[in-house]
Structure formats: structure tokens, C-alpha cells
């Protein structure tokens, strides 16, 4: 009898093995933080003196990173076009999302200065975390990186998401680099406004398009936060049957230092964050940032940014 039960368990293990393997491969990544040069330390903006939010027990901060990782880019040396700091306070069920403009010109943890989206390409997740942590004076507990195709497949694997798209997104020259043969092709995009059910491709079009947005990356950041919120809402409905499809969708497209046991603890918490009024969105619009930095990038007005950031991120 025991042998038969054990063999049944073995069948179950065989079924969930790919998902478990992927979970083990994707999670618990070791973060290697580069050591900055002395010069780097001198030019980093100092967070001291800025008012800080009082530490809250159980609160944690995650850096979300999203990258175009199509064939135009070398694997593991991709830019992070999307960088969002998320702080969760479980006791009050409050979430704060701070979108960091990809074109922000900052001191990099790997040395020198550059656009903040380059930190990951120079030194991986550790460099991205160290750059954000030092420049913004924020303690980051964890990171999650996801590739472009991974986000599309993730949304499809969870059956699409419901989003209230804030405005029509019209783009006559949207990059057709995901499924086309030539990664420099263009296509037309028209994502209409209002509440709707989006599949992965259309959700990606909504968050990625920037040609039709006067605010360019700022507008895009706002849309990214809307989609993130919708994914979180949908994730509450996940069940064990969904794990194999999810693992297939995310194969190689997701990395995080968060361990599996931690993920299991976070899922019920994510499910409880369902008050739209408890989700605070922060964007670094002018006067916090403005043009005029090298390569068309943005100047960071640290004297304004740091007090704002430290209201929400101790």
C-alpha cells in the first residue's frame, strides 16, 4: 500500500517538477553588490538630512525591474526600461509605488555616471539595487526582474488582466520586436481607453508605447503601475493548476532574490491588498526632474527628490 501511495506521490512530483525547478532557478538569486570607487562616493547625492518615514515593523521594499530582452540585446546585459520601487506595509496594507525615470542621469554604483537604466547592464541586479539604494537613500530588501516576453506570457498564463486604461494609447511606430522576424520593424497600436480585459500583447502595448505620450517615460510609468496593480488583483485567483503554465511562461524571463518560502508568505499578503485608496503612486515629474543632462537624459533635482522619497521609503 505504501509503495502505491509513494508512486502516486512520485507522479505528482513529476508533474510539478518543471514548475518547482523553475521556481528554484528563478528565485533566491544571490545579489552581488559592486564596490563603488572613492570618486563615486563623493558624487553620490547624500540622503542625510532628509526627513524619513518612521520604520514600520514588517514593512519591506522591492525593486521591480523590467527589460526589453529581444534579439536586439545581449542576454544579461539589458537595460532596465522599467524601474519601480515598491514599499509594502503589511500592518496597514498600504503600498507605495515610485517609478524611477529610465533616463535619469545618476551616479552609478559601478563607477562614473550614466542613465540609471544602464546600471543593470553593467553589473546585473546588484548594481541596479546599489545604484538606486545609494542615490535615493533607500534600503531595498529584494528585487524582481522580468523580461518583456515574460510579462506578455505571464499575463496570458493568468488569463489576461482587467485594466482601466487611462486614455487611448495611439502609436504609429510601435516596435514590432517580440514576434516578428526583424527586431527593428514597426507596427501600429491603438489601445482604446476605459475598463477592459487585456491579453499579454495588448497589455504590453499599453505599458510600452511612449511615442504618443507627451510625458514619454512618465506617462509610461503611470501605465506600468496600472498594469502591475491589475496583475496583483488577478494573481489572487491563482491555484495549483496554474503553476505549470506559469512556469512555462516565465522560463528564463524572471529572476529574483526572494526565496520560495518568502514567496509563499507574500501571496496571502498580496491577496489582502485590495483597497485602491491604499495604493499610493509616486512619479518624478518636473520639477523633480527636468531635461538638460547628457545624451538627452534627465537631471535629478535631488534636493526635491530625496525629501519626497523619504516620506514613503525610510
Amino acid at each position: 500500500m505504501l509503495a502505491i501511495v509513494l508512486s502516486a506521490v512520485a507522479g505528482g512530483i513529476a508533474y510539478f517538477m518543471p514548475a518547482a525547478q523553475l521556481a528554484l532557478d528563478s528565485t533566491g538569486q544571490v545579489i552581488r553588490v559592486p564596490t563603488p570607487s572613492p570618486t563615486q562616493l563623493l558624487i553620490s547625492p547624500s540622503p542625510t538630512g532628509a526627513p524619513s518615514a518612521a520604520p514600520v515593523a514588517g514593512a519591506f521594499t522591492v525593486l521591480l525591474l523590467g527589460s526589453d530582452d529581444d534579439s536586439k540585446f545581449v542576454s544579461d546585459h539589458v537595460l532596465t526600461q522599467s524601474m519601480i520601487l515598491v514599499r509594502v506595509v503589511p500592518s496597514t496594507r498600504q503600498v507605495t509605488m515610485l517609478s524611477i525615470p529610465r533616463d535619469l542621469w545618476v551616479p552609478l554604483s559601478t563607477g562614473g555616471s550614466g542613465k540609471i537604466d544602464g546600471a543593470y547592464s553593467y553589473g546585473g541586479a546588484g548594481a541596479a539595487i546599489a545604484t538606486v539604494s545609494r542615490d535615493f537613500g533607500v534600503h531595498i530588501d529584494d528585487y524582481i526582474w522580468i523580461g518583456l516576453l515574460g510579462l506578455v506570457k505571464l499575463i496570458d498564463a493568468i488569463g489576461g488582466i482587467d485594466v482601466v486604461t487611462s486614455h487611448p494609447v495611439m502609436d504609429d511606430y510601435y516596435p514590432a520586436d517580440i514576434y516578428g522576424g526583424w527586431p527593428y520593424d514597426y507596427e501600429r497600436v491603438a489601445v482604446l481607453a476605459g475598463p477592459q480585459h487585456l491579453d499579454g500583447v495588448h497589455a504590453m502595448q499599453y505599458v510600452r508605447s511612449r511615442h504618443g505620450d507627451l510625458q514619454s517615460d512618465f506617462g509610461r510609468s503611470q501605465r506600468q503601475q496600472e498594469v502591475l496593480t491589475a496583475i496583483r488583483v488577478k494573481a489572487k485567483e491563482l491555484s495549483p493548476e496554474d503553476l505549470p503554465a506559469l512556469s512555462k511562461a516565465l522560463g528564463g524571463e524572471l529572476k529574483t532574490n526572494i526565496g520560495i518560502s518568502q514567496v509563499a508568505q507574500m501571496l496571502p499578503l498580496a491577496a489582502s491588498l485590495d483597497d485602491p485608496n491604499a495604493i499610493h503612486q509616486v512619479f518624478l515629474l518636473p520639477p523633480y526632474t527636468h531635461g538638460g543632462a547628457p545624451d538627452g537624459s534627465l537631471v535629478a533635482e535631488w534636493s526635491l527628490i530625496l525629501p519626497l522619497v523619504h516620506q514613503y521609503f525610510p
Binding site: S7, G11, G160, D172, Y173, G212
Partner: protein, 379 residues
């Protein structure tokens, strides 16, 4: 007495049987787990394969909806497929009994007139780029949200012209219903890099209510309802930026407007307000627990239909019906004359009857209608 060879043979048989059971058990577990389908990724049914709730029988007239690029009608509690799945969306009724709708392709969309039975009668716009200019995606155009005026003379739509390079916005255009877009007239001045002006709704007395997207005081893009009765005029804003409203629908008697308002959050409330022909009255949020899209008044004024996900439909948008009793103001109590003759003093206040408890009715449960397509509803 049992011989040793017999015992050994029995053991071999037992071992083989046990091994078989183990293989069977392991395989069966794997197969059973594999056969379990994810509820979260379950595809919606075609409306014609579904059985609408009994309340669908009570819906007046004929309603037209879009799902997966096909247009369906709903009448007498049954769905009928009018077009094949080929990018059809946004049906609207014309006074001549025909339906106008959008057919969307990958790079462009066009307005068509189709018969009540679903056959295409006329292609109104021709928005695909000419073959010699196919290399430039910007040579294509979009037409969305067609509507015909009550007198049947004017066809309104959102059309992405003018546009300049990356600045692609939809503007409201008006053209003769029986004519071509060459005879059309640009009606609104869409704000640059906003998505533009959409959802024109012709109103009695001329003019349109429409949704304009523009930057609010907080630099975020929001929707506002506007009214204009003059070509290329800004017209008059009907809602404020912080309300973030869209999807206007005028009641059959022309005295109320239904809309959805989001207050710049990931919510979508069904809101109604009185309409006097130029301004909106106080707002009433009558459904706040659902992600409401495309509110549409019943042609006989008996209620409002809309699209919204349900708790078990995997986020796909279903058809809902809100009887008038849900949102109509309670009746004003009529004082009862005191028996025994004329009465000049104040009458005793009568107690109004308790308001009926009416909840939105879910007409479909697993259909996944296109929430960006307005519903068309005729008597």
C-alpha cells in the same frame, strides 16, 4: 504442503502486480493532474453557445454587442451571431434600421453600414494605406465610435486626422451619413499627445457630448465629458478632471446622462446625472462595486445595461442589467387628504414606502464581451 517453486512463483506474480499498480498509480496521478484545466485561463464561450439568465427574456428590444471580433444581437433572450469573427466592433444603430460598425484590422479600421441581418452594405471609410505607401505604418488611419444623428443625416466618428509624426490623436469628425469622408468636417480640436477626442453622442437639439482626454492639473491624462454644438469649438466641459469620466450615454427621454467615472484610480463607477441640454446636474454613483463599462439605456427607459466582470468569469466582461428601480429616485409621497372635508392646515406627513431592493442582474456568465465596444440597443 506447498512446494518452494510455487511460493516463489506466487511472489513473482505479486511483485509484478505490485509493480503494475505502482506504475498505474504514478501514471494516473500524473494524468489526472495534467487533465486539470486552469480556471484562471479558461476561454470565454461564444454568446450563441451560452444560455443567458432568464432575465434576458425581459430585456426590451434588440441589443447588439461585440465579442472576439464578431457582432451579436440579443433579443427574446437569445443571442444571434450577425457577423463572423473578423475584427467587427462598436455597433451603433442608424435611424434607417441598419447598423453601423467598425471593422478593425492590424494597422487600420473602417466604418461600415451593415444590414440588421449582418451583411455589409457599404464601406464608409477607406483607411488602409495605399499599396505604394505600405512601408510607412503612419499612412494608415483609425476610425472608431461611429454614431448617426437622430435625423439620419450626420455620421459622427473619431478619426485620427490630423496627426503629426508621433502625435497621433483621435478627433471628432462629422460627415453626411449617405456621403463619404471627403465630405467630412473636423469637429473638435483634440489636445496633442493625449489620445484625443472619442465617443461622440449626438443629442437632441444638435451638437454632441463626447469624451476628451487631456492633462489634468496634476499632469495626469484624464477623461472629461464635453458638449459642443459648433464645429471646431472647444465647447463646454461637463465634468471635472478629478472625476475622470468617459462613456457618455443619453437616456431615451434626453433628461439624464449615464457615464463611467474613475476618479483617476483603477475603479470604474456607473454614474448618472441629470441633463438639461447644456449642463449636467449632481452626480450619483449608482454602481461602485464593479468595473463598469459601456452603460447603455434601455430604449423604453426601463433600466441600464452595462458590461462588467463577475467574481467567477476570470475577468472577462459580462452583460449586466440594472432595472430602473435600482437608481430611480424614490417616489415623492403624496399627502392623503384627511377624511371629513377640506383641510387648510399642514397635512400629516406620510411615510414613504420602503425602496425596493434591486440588485444588478448578471445576464451572461462566461462570455467575455468587448468592453471597448459600446452596446447598441433599439426597440
Amino acid at each position: 504442503m506447498i512446494s518452494i517453486p510455487v511460493i516463489q512463483a506466487s511472489r513473482v506474480v505479486l511483485a509484478v502486480v505490485l509493480a503494475g499498480l505502482m506504475v498505474l498509480s504514478g501514471s494516473a496521478t500524473y494524468i489526472v493532474l495534467s487533465s486539470r484545466t486552469s480556471k484562471i485561463a479558461k476561454a470565454p464561450e461564444k454568446p450563441t453557445a451560452a444560455t443567458p439568465a432568464p432575465q434576458a427574456l425581459t430585456l426590451p428590444g434588440t441589443m447588439y454587442l461585440s465579442q472576439e471580433g464578431a457582432i451579436y444581437s440579443l433579443s427574446g433572450g437569445k443571442f444571434h451571431e450577425l457577423t463572423v469573427e473578423a475584427g467587427w466592433m462598436q455597433p451603433a444603430l442608424a435611424p434607417d434600421g441598419n447598423i453601423i460598425a467598425v471593422k478593425r484590422d492590424a494597422f487600420s479600421s473602417d466604418v461600415y453600414v451593415i444590414s440588421p441581418s449582418g451583411s455589409a452594405l457599404r464601406q464608409v471609410t477607406n483607411n488602409a494605406a495605399p499599396a505604394r505607401l505600405k512601408y510607412d505604418t503612419g499612412q494608415n488611419h483609425w476610425s472608431f465610435y461611429p454614431r448617426v444623428s437622430a435625423d439620419g443625416r450626420t455620421l459622427w466618428m473619431s478619426y485620427d486626422d490630423p496627426k503629426f509624426g508621433y502625435d497621433v490623436v483621435l478627433s471628432i469628425w462629422a460627415m453626411p451619413y449617405a456621403g463619404s469622408l471627403n465630405q467630412g468636417r473636423l469637429w473638435t480640436n483634440a489636445a496633442d499627445y493625449t489620445g484625443g477626442d472619442v465617443q461622440p453622442v449626438p443629442v437632441a437639439g444638435g451638437g454632441i457630448i463626447y469624451t476628451k482626454y487631456d492633462f489634468g492639473p496634476d499632469n495626469r491624462l484624464v477623461g472629461r465629458l464635453w458638449f459642443t454644438n459648433r464645429a471646431y469649438s472647444f465647447g463646454k466641459a461637463l465634468t471635472s478632471p478629478d472625476e475622470d469620466c468617459r462613456n457618455p450615454a443619453v437616456s431615451p427621454d434626453g433628461t439624464q446622462v449615464a457615464m463611467v467615472c474613475t476618479y483617476e484610480k483603477q475603479v470604474s463607477y456607473l454614474t448618472i446625472a441629470t441633463w438639461n441640454g447644456s449642463t449636467l446636474g449632481a452626480r450619483r454613483n449608482i454602481v461602485t462595486s464593479q468595473l463598469v463599462a459601456q452603460p447603455t439605456w434601455a430604449p423604453d427607459g426601463s433600466g441600464i445595461a452595462y458590461l462588467a466582470p463577475n467574481a467567477s468569469s476570470n475577468g472577462d466582461f459580462q452583460l449586466w442589467w440594472l432595472p430602473k428601480a435600482f437608481y430611480a429616485p424614490p417616489p415623492v409621497p403624496v399627502p392623503t387628504p384627511t377624511p371629513g372635508g377640506p383641510h387648510n392646515g399642514p397635512l400629516p406627513a406620510s411615510t414613504p414606502p420602503p425602496a425596493p431592493v434591486v440588485k444588478p442582474i448578471e445576464v451572461t456568465t462566461n462570455n467575455g464581451f468587448d468592453a471597448t465596444s459600446p452596446l447598441a440597443w433599439g426597440s
